[in-house]
């Protein structure tokens, strides 16, 4: 093979999914620099907040990437986030559990939801869209049931019917804070941790390779001895677990467990994954791309909000930009 010279190889690098995702992010950043809201864009706090606000979505996007790589989809993550937030608030505020136990139990709740929707998909052969749609409705209902029809907050109802305020639990204070001289939010660190875990699993573990194989050609994977049912189910389990982590972060930031939280978050998570360049048809993509997608949408939202663009316009613009970004991601047919 002829070795391409450096300029053509640089161009070729930009024509990969990663390159196109980087271009999308770069365009958003340029917009940020042009419409910097009187320099607000150049302040460290703006970037810290952009990361913080994107983190919960980003954690969902990590799990979503694993599922989408298998050519699946998980619509339940928003509801599972709410369920987890409610459980987490209940355990830490009402029952006074220690942070470690709360985290473990909440992640188990999320993983359990994933186990059900993953099992229904992989074992019973129900289409992922339908199976997770059902779980989305079910988990929302369960969240409302656990919360007793209201938000689980620090205002705890006493036996005599009055409300008494209790302290914000340690877990919430630990998460809803900043470190490194106030420059980095803890949720951002949690998000980056999730990215790292999902990245390593997908890129370096046998399971990750199996997910790609299942998404690329399930029949070939099956006939190569890949445990398709197990690996696929585990993808949904992991996705549920990430949704639970996102739920804990959400609860900590709101200092309450809101059963209505997370509605529509699944769609933002999917958008982030797809803008990164992971293909909904499965078999292609990765966590690095998702990270770029998360930053693209995260910064877009931040730039629109510091420019005080009204919410109506913001939503419409976001919709348009999602389409434009995904269009640039489309592979040209060879």
């Amino acid at each position: 093979m002829r070795r391409p010279n450096s300029s053509t190889s640089a161009l070729a690098a930009l024509n990969t999914p990663a390159g196109r995702a980087l271009i999308a992010l770069a365009i958003v950043m340029v917009f940020g620099i042009l419409f910097n809201a009187d320099g607000a864009f150049f302040k460290a706090g703006t970037h810290r907040d952009a990361f913080r606000q994107a983190s919960v979505y980003g954690i969902l996007a990590c799990g979503m990437t694993l599922v989408i790589v298998t050519a699946g989809i998980d619509l339940a993550v928003g509801s599972v986030l709410a369920l987890s937030a409610v459980c987490c608030a209940k355990m830490s505020i009402h029952w006074g559990w220690s942070p470690g136990w709360v985290i473990c139990a909440t992640v188990l709740v999320g993983a359990g939801s994933g186990l059900i929707s993953g099992g229904v998909t992989a074992r019973l052969g129900v289409q992922p869209f339908i199976a997770t749609l059902a779980m989305m409705v079910f988990a929302r209902g369960l969240a409302k049931y656990v919360a007793g029809g209201m938000k689980v907050s620090t205002a705890v109802q006493q036996p005599d019917g009055t409300y008494e305020f209790v302290d914000v639990p340690t877990l919430f204070r630990m998460i809803d804070t900043r470190v490194f001289a106030g420059n980095v939010s803890v949720v951002t660190l949690i998000f980056l941790g999730c990215v790292a875990i999902a990245y390593v699993a997908l890129a370096y573990h046998r399971w990750g390779r199996e997910l790609y194989a299942i998404g690329g050609n399930e029949e070939a994977a099956r006939l190569s001895g890949v445990p398709v049912t197990l690996s696929k189910t585990l993808a949904y389990v992991a996705c549920g677990a990430f949704a639970a982590i996102a739920g804990i972060c959400q609860a900590a930031q709101e200092q309450q467990g809101d059963p209505e939280a997370g509605a529509g978050y699944e769609l933002i998570a999917i958008a982030m994954v797809v803008i990164g360049g992971t293909n909904l048809m499965g078999g292609r993509g990765g966590l690095g791309l998702t990270l770029l997608g998360v930053l693209t949408i995260g910064y877009l939202e931040k730039i629109l909000s510091i420019n005080a663009v009204p919410e109506a316009a913001r939503l419409m613009l976001t919709g348009v930009i999602i389409i434009v970004a995904v269009m640039t991601q489309r592979r040209s047919r060879t």
Binding site: T8, A213, A220, G225, G283
Partner: protein
């Protein structure tokens, strides 16, 4: 008097050059198709045949050169325009819409309507008419997916005819057909050319080329080697043109390596799963010895492919006693089969063999990934080293092992699929059409591998639709007809006539 139309060739492509990036895949190629002729386009995989056809079909539009149809210069910008110019392409992958009815498929994009409403009755009558012209008698209201591939292909040809195609391009049309179906296809071709159409026929099968070709154009490495009337280009010379190097005798195997029992099937039956539980293979008994090649002869629907899949734990339900190396074996899942040293090369590379978007290396280690992990973590270095070794051994031509396998040519993809199974260190290789859709050179390499593997003690159950291949490679041939064994031949006793007779149930 010469009709003005006949002065010009039906299709004339001149000086066609096409590049993908910096790689030139066609260089100054001329190609000419006359009305009423069958023009075989031959060449190894990657020679540029498909690219040339895609240019004619309007798929690739950025090329240099001229295309003339009946003397008028054209430049189809998309497949629809090519279709309107009377060019029909019948691909290896069929372009029918499976869940739609046969009639709907035939009239796709030009429905017979009345005030905007589809006239189903009229479409069905017309569809029946076109199919009858090809002697196909099927219910045109049934969905395409309900028919076997061979029938779907006939539907596709009927579709081309119904579109008044002048030039019909057939890209490996027989790869999924059985012997009598192939003959019927050839009769169709004769019929079509008799009506003044031109047929471009792409094939790797020598007997077919000898049977249908009026003229042959050979491409090699994107250049035209030459065009010659078929009688002036005997098989040996044609192969020489295609590969540019002499190919050894196609009959690669000389002696048998058979010794010691490896696989025993004792009264084995295979049933399909699902509501319509059909008996696909009925009461087969066979013994496969170490280093032996047993060929399973049979036509479409013989049940041979299903038998291999079922043995591998990937299809239906298998009943009866099976032993591997004297120990009982239960075909329950591909994983179990792999653990017991069975490997299955499926007959559909893209459908069930390879994971196309994944890299060459990932595909090679797909079935043996456990050997390259520690506590589940992949050991990239060892994996790459093993893949590289396998790629070298099987001479897989790939710019890099990180390339997606879909970027390789058919022959190289097949070698990747084989490399995958060699990584599992199999004792029994189940080969289902190992040479389907690959070029002469790659076929020869695969024959040599089969020779090597049997010498190393690997036992092979082989299915191939090419009779010379079956006769040349098998130590024994067992012929199936509709799931039942109809004949068994020792190597020396097998003849093409006898095998085909048994396969047809005589």
């Amino acid at each position: 008097m010469i009709d003005s139309v006949n002065i010009f060739p039906l299709v004339h492509m001149r000086g066609i050059t096409k590049r993908f990036g910096s790689v030139s895949v066609l260089e100054d190629v001329n190609f000419e198709l006359l009305a009423g002729e069958t023009h075989v386009l031959a060449g190894e995989n990657g020679a540029g045949k498909s690219t040339l056809i895609k240019i004619l079909a309007g798929v690739h539009t950025d090329f240099t050169g001229r295309i003339e149809i009946e003397g008028v210069q054209v430049r189809p910008r998309n497949p629809l325009e090519a279709d309107a110019l009377g060019i029909a392409i019948i691909h290896q992958e069929l372009s029918l819409i499976d869940p739609m009815s046969v009639a709907d498929n035939l009239f796709l994009g030009r429905m017979r309507t009345n005030a905007g409403f589809v006239c189903r009755r009229k479409q069905e009558d017309e569809a029946r008419g076109w199919l009858n012209r090809l002697d196909i008698d099927i219910d045109v209201r049934r969905r395409v997916e309900e028919f076997p591939i061979a029938t779907r292909q006939c539907i596709e040809i009927a579709k081309a005819l119904s579109r008044q195609a002048k030039a019909i391009v057939m890209d490996e049309p027989t790869s999924a057909l059985s012997e009598p179906e192939v003959e019927r296809l050839f009769e169709m071709i004769d019929q079509v050319t008799g009506q003044g159409c031109g047929v471009v026929y792409i094939s790797h099968k020598m007997e077919e080329i000898e049977r249908v070709a009026d003229r042959i154009t050979v491409l090699r490495d994107g250049k035209r080697v030459g065009t010659a009337p078929a009688p002036e280009l005997p098989a040996a010379e044609l192969i020489h043109w295609m590969v540019g190097r002499p190919v050894k005798d196609r009959h690669a195997r000389s002696s048998s390596h058979a010794a010691g029992k490896r696989l025993l099937l004792d009264h084995v039956s295979v049933h399909s799963n699902g509501r319509d539980r059909k008996t696909v293979v009925n009461d087969i008994s066979l013994e496969l010895r170490r280093g032996e090649v047993v060929g399973l002869g049979g036509l479409q629907g013989s049940g041979a492919s299903e038998l291999l899949l079922a043995l591998f734990g990937g299809f239906g339900e298998i009943r009866g006693r099976i032993e591997i190396d004297g120990r009982p074996y239960f075909a329950s899942s591909p994983r179990k089969a792999i653990d017991r040293g069975i490997a299955l090369l499926t007959n559909d590379r893209k459908g069930s063999g390879l994971v196309c978007p994944l890299s060459v290396a990932a595909n090679i280690t797909m079935a043996s990934l456990r050997n390259f992990t520690r506590f589940g973590w992949r050991q990239n270095g060892r994996e790459t080293a093993a893949a590289r070794q396998a790629a070298t051994m099987l001479q897989i031509q790939s710019a890099s092992l990180d390339m997606p396998v879909e970027a390789l040519s058919g022959g190289n993809q097949q070698k990747v699929a084989m490399a995958k199974w060699l990584q599992t260190d199999p004792g029994v290789l189940l080969l289902d059409e190992p040479t389907r859709g690959i070029d002469v050179g790659a076929k020869q390499e695969i024959y040599e591998r089969i020779e090597q593997w049997t010498a190393a003690g690997i036992s092979i159950l082989l299915i191939t639709s090419e009779m010379p291949e079956l006769l040349a490679l098998s130590d024994r041939i067992i012929v199936l007809h509709r799931g039942t064994v109809t004949a068994e031949f020792e190597r020396c006793a097998a003849t093409a006539d006898a095998v085909l007779g048994a396969a047809m149930g005589h």
